[in-house]
Every structure is written in C-alpha cells, then in structure tokens.
C-alpha cells in the first residue's frame, strides 16, 4: 500500500486563487476536508482525481499523476461524485460495471474477472436484491451505495468522496460513513472526504484539513483542527464544542441572539 502526496497543488482562476495546498497521507488513513462553501474542497478532490488542471504534483506511491494515463490513474484513485449523473434505464449492476472501465480489454467484453468483482462488491454493499433494477427506481441512499460500489470495483487504493452524505437523511448519513469506514478497514483504502458535518468528520476521520478561500487554515489531528476558536473564525459564526462521554465531540453552531 502506498501513501498519497500532493505538493504545491495550485489552481488559479485568472488572478483569483481557488486552491493552494500541500500535504501527505499515509495509506489507510481517513482525511476529512472541511471548510465553508467555496473554500475549495471539491476543487481539491478534483485535483486529486486528475479532473482539474493544476500546478504542482500529486503522487500515489511512486506513480506521478502527470505521467499516468487516464486509465492508470483511475486504477489508483476513485471518486464518488457529489451529484452523480443517473442515466435513465441503466441497471444497478450495469452502473457498477462502469467502474471497470479502467480495466477494459481491447475488444471491450466484460470478463469473468469483471463480473466476479462486480458481484462481490454488490454483495458487500447489500445491493444484490437491486442489481437488475433501473437506477431511476431506487432510493437516494441506495443510489449512494451503488455509486460507492462503482468506485470500489475500480480496485483503486485511494477513495475520494465529495460530500457523500449531503443528499441523505440522518440515519443514512451515518450508515454510509460506517460503510465507507468498514470497506476502508477491510481493503486498506485511503479515504479523502469533503465533509460538511463537523461532528461526523471528527468521529470518522483521523486527519483533517480546514480550507478557507483555497488556502489551508488548519491541518492535523482532531485536537488541532476541531477547536472552537479555529472553526468560529473560519466559518464566521460562533461554534461551540460539547464533550459527550460516549460520543466524543459534538460540534454545533450557536445562533445569534435576536436583534433588539
């Protein structure tokens, strides 16, 4: 297993800085990327996925992104997009099979290997009953699992999640993150997730990066990043941290008193 490194990664939009960041992550770690809207979280994930032109370097192990083909990079880094496109009429199994694109043989037939990996991941994510159901006839939580399954069959060692829970209710948010954590442990995956829910980020991630206006405001472990002072300054709203004996840090914004 190999670590993920990014150095001098920079994205400019004309003169405006959209992202500038450095860092590395040991394999098997979970990095939460935090920050207000427009901070550059999605841009960062797209840079890691090789979908956005950027300065600097990204490496997984000794493979450089710049010298990898699209398929080579897709076999190392997989992305679960925030709002995946849902092609009408496509079945869950066919959708998951798209994750094998980077392993296509030259005449394009799906081999026994492709099928068995798709079947294995579909079973692991409890999608077997839905495999031949069209995507437009499953729920949001099921779609999230199908998209995760599609990322897992790529056999990439780095899994990028762009706000994986934003479309889900409370129970499904927890379920998806637990699922990601389970496959991370089972497969030794490195996870990089852009997250909005700071409490859940503190629960699941062991490394955190807080971005604001494209720059890193704080990076490190839970104690370095999830402090009331740092978060309040970055989000521009008073943020309180409660310590629950069972659940750890509960992070919540404090409403302003009504104006008199």
């Amino acid at each position: 297993m190999s670590r993920l490194r990014w150095s001098d990664v920079e994205v400019l939009d004309g003169d405006r800085l959209r992202l500038r960041t450095d860092g590395e992550l040991r394999s098997g770690a979970w990095l939460a990327v935090l920050g207000p809207n427009g901070a550059g979280k999605s841009t960062f994930l797209r840079c890691l996925a090789g979908m956005e032109d950027h300065g600097g370097h990204v490496m997984v192990g000794d493979q450089r992104q710049a010298s990898a083909s699209r398929a080579e990079w897709a076999r190392r880094v997989a992305l679960v997009p925030q709002n995946p496109v849902v092609p009408e009429g496509m079945s869950v199994a066919e959708y998951v099979l798209l994750g094998r694109t980077a392993h296509l043989s030259w005449f394009g037939a799906e081999g026994a290997d492709d099928r068995s990996r798709v079947a294995e991941v579909i079973d692991q994510l409890d999608l077997a009953e839905l495999a031949d159901r069209p995507l437009d006839r499953i729920s949001g939580g099921e779609l999230q699992r199908a998209t995760l399954a599609r990322a897992l069959v790529t056999e990439a060692e780095v899994l990028l999640l762009d706000e994986p829970t934003s479309a889900l209710d409370l129970a499904h948010q927890l379920h998806v993150l637990e699922l990601v954590d389970e496959v991370r442990r089972a497969r030794g995956l490195t996870v990089v997730a852009a997250m909005h829910d700071l409490t859940l980020a503190g629960r699941f991630a062991d490394r955190l990066t807080l971005l604001a206006d494209g720059e890193t405001v704080a990076a490190g472990g839970v104690d370095d990043v999830l402090t009331s002072a740092v978060l309040s300054r970055t989000y521009g709203v008073d943020i309180r941290i409660l310590d629950d004996p069972d659940l750890g840090r509960i992070i919540t914004p404090v409403p302003r008193p009504p104006a008199t």
């Binding site: 090789g50 398929a71 009408e88 495999a131």
Partner: protein
C-alpha cells in the same frame, strides 16, 4: 409512472439467503439477451430466404435454402434449381440481399454510435452533414456529366462518397475549432448540412433536366446492386462495425457525462473523435452505394433500446442484425408491391418503419435517451 410495489431501502435481514442465490440478480443483469438474439437471428434468416425466393421470377424456398448452403465453402448439396434459376439467385438476388443487409447494418451501427457519442436520442447517421454532402457530390457528378469512375467504381457513388467525406470533414474541423464538445460538433454538423444543401439546391434549380436522375438517387435504391457494390462496402462495414462494437462499453460510460467518464478512466474526447470518424466513413460508404435511406439509423437503435435494454453492450451488437433485417425486408417490399416498378426504398423504410416505431414507442414504458 411505474406501478410496481413500493420499495424499501432497508437491507434484508442477514439470514435472507446468502452467496450464489442472492447474486442471481447480478447474473441476470449481465446475461446475454439470448431470446432477443434468437428472435433477431430467426427474423434475419426468414427475411433473407423470402427476399431470395420472391421476385419477378419466384424461386422455390427449399431450393434457395439449399442453394445458400451450396454457396458456402466446403459444402456441396444439390439445390434442385435449374441453371436459369441458379443465375437469378447468384447474380441478381444474392448481391442485392447482401447489399441491403450491409447498408442496414452500417446505418444502424452509425446511428447507435452517434446517439451514444452525442448523448442525443435524435442523432442519426446524417447528423454531421454526410447526407447533404453525398447529395451534393452526386448532383455535381450528374450536372456536369463528370466521368470520375475508377476501376469498378462508377461516377455517382464516388462523387457521393467524396461529397459525404467533405461535409463530415468540414463539420468536424469547425466543431473541433469551437472546442470539440458534443454541442459544438452538433451545431457545426447542422451548419455544414445547410451549406451543402444550399449548393445542391442551387445546382438542381439551374439544371432541372437532370433533376430526375439526382432525385431518384437521393431517394435511395438498391436496384443497381451487384457484387461490385457488395465488395466496395463490405470492408467498411466489417472494420467500422468492429470498431463501433469494440466501443460499446465506452458508449455506456459516456452516459454518465464527460466529467464522471474521465474520473472512471475513459477518455471522452478520444472516444468521440474515433467514433465520429469511423461512423462518418461508414455512413459515407453506405450512402454512396445506396443513396440516402432515412429512418433506419435513427430508429433501429431505439427499437432495441425500448424492447431489449438501454445498455450499449446490448444495443450495438444487435443493431447490426436488426438493421440488416429491417433493410432487407424494406427492399423486398420496395421491389414487390408495385412490380415491375420499384418504390424508392427510403419511402418504404419511413412508411413502414414509422408506424411500427410509433407502436413500439406507445407500448413502451421505458424512457428514451
């Protein structure tokens, strides 16, 4: 709206069955649609034998079948056909049926490729101006009486082929210069088609005496089909068809949009360039020997999409067989209903095909595109 039972997102209890049983639906989702293939193959066989047997001189179906076997290498059977019947079968009917099949398969493959690449259900093989270009090429040859024939290739097909490639090349270069995205190519195709049609109309207005010749070519006909046309088109159909079939899963990946397709390891720009070039070449080759036969390339992929499944893994391979069957059948109708006169085959494909497609569309609850 669907009427199925409400579905629950709660995972089934752990003891609901494990292993192979629960994965049955995965296997089901990936199975080859064997019934559809069987139906398509039987339909092709029936329509081929009928087309070979029926005509100005009817041949016995049994003799046609045995004659077909006899034509295969290493097979020797006595077809029971007399010498004259043998000549009709081998020199007239067989090349015409083969050409209709090749043209039908070619247009259907092109249509499927264009629909997938442009993610547009209205895409057809003439999208990039290939039809208008071919029409202009044929018009120029007829109007100026050009004798550009070369070897076995006569003047009109060659003119049409060159015109078709010129239009596709123009559309492609303008579209590339405008960024090369699907929308840019589409609009450049519309512009190229309008431009070539304008010149073609101008030339025809100035030379009304040749209008009939040009017009009958444009409406499409396989009346002059011989082995030389088959030999001309065959390599294009085989090679381009293989390239399009090899890209069937790429076409599925494009269905999730370019950004996601890239993140999955595909190269949408390369796929688009490859398939647009290959499909345009294939269409140009097909129309140069058959004229502009409309509707086949648009509708055949949709019929498969609506009846069998929406994955290009299924659509592309089947489109070859279904397209061939459809056009062989249409040609049979075109040359028999008003015999000894012939209807333009383009009239038949639209007159018979449109109501049939309307029926499929009406019955289907699946979504197009």
């Amino acid at each position: 709206m669907t009427t199925g039972p409400a579905t629950s997102s709660v995972p089934p209890p752990a003891d609901a069955g494990v292993g192979a049983d629960r994965l049955g639906s995965v296997a089901r989702a990936f199975r080859i649609p064997a019934v559809s293939w069987l139906v398509a193959a039987v339909a092709l066989f029936v329509v081929v034998v009928a087309s070979l047997a029926v005509g100005a001189v009817d041949l016995p179906a049994r003799g046609v079948f045995l004659g077909l076997l006899d034509a295969l290498p290493l097979v020797e059977v006595d077809s029971g056909l007399d010498e004259r019947q043998q000549v009709i079968l081998e020199q007239w009917r067989l090349p015409r049926v083969m050409l209709a099949g090749l043209v039908g398969a070619s247009l259907s493959w092109s249509g499927a490729a264009y629909q997938g690449v442009f993610r547009n259900p209205l895409a057809d093989p003439f999208l990039l101006g290939v039809g208008a270009g071919a029409g202009l090429g044929a018009t120029v040859v007829v109007v100026f009486g050009l004798d550009v024939g070369w070897g076995p290739i006569s003047s009109i097909p060659l003119g049409a082929f060159i015109g078709a490639l010129a239009a596709a090349f123009l559309a492609f270069s303008v579209g590339r210069a405008a960024g090369g995205g699907a929308g840019a190519l589409l609009l450049a195709g519309v512009a190229a088609a309008a431009f070539f049609t304008a010149i073609q109309t101008f030339l025809q207005q100035r030379n009304t005496d040749v209008l009939r010749i040009v017009y009958s070519w444009i409406q499409g006909s396989l009346g002059t089909a011989g082995w030389s046309e088959v030999r001309l088109l065959l390599p294009y159909t085989v090679v381009a068809g293989a390239v399009i079939v090899a890209h069937r899963r790429h076409l599925d990946v494009l269905r999730v949009g370019e950004a996601e397709a890239r993140s999955l390891g595909a190269d949408p720009a390369r796929i688009r360039v490859t398939l647009v070039i290959v499909a345009s070449l294939l269409t140009a080759a097909a129309v140069s020997v058959s004229g502009l036969i409309s509707f086949v390339g648009l509708v055949v992929p949709h019929v498969i999409r609506l009846t069998v499944g929406s994955s290009y893994r299924v659509i592309v391979p089947l489109a070859g067989v279904v397209g061939a069957t459809f056009l062989i059948g249409a040609d049979l109708v075109a040359r028999t209903v008003l015999a000894p006169a012939e209807l333009p085959i383009g009239v038949v494909t639209a007159f018979v095909g449109a109501p049939f497609f309307g029926f499929i569309l009406h019955r289907s609850r699946r979504t197009i595109g």
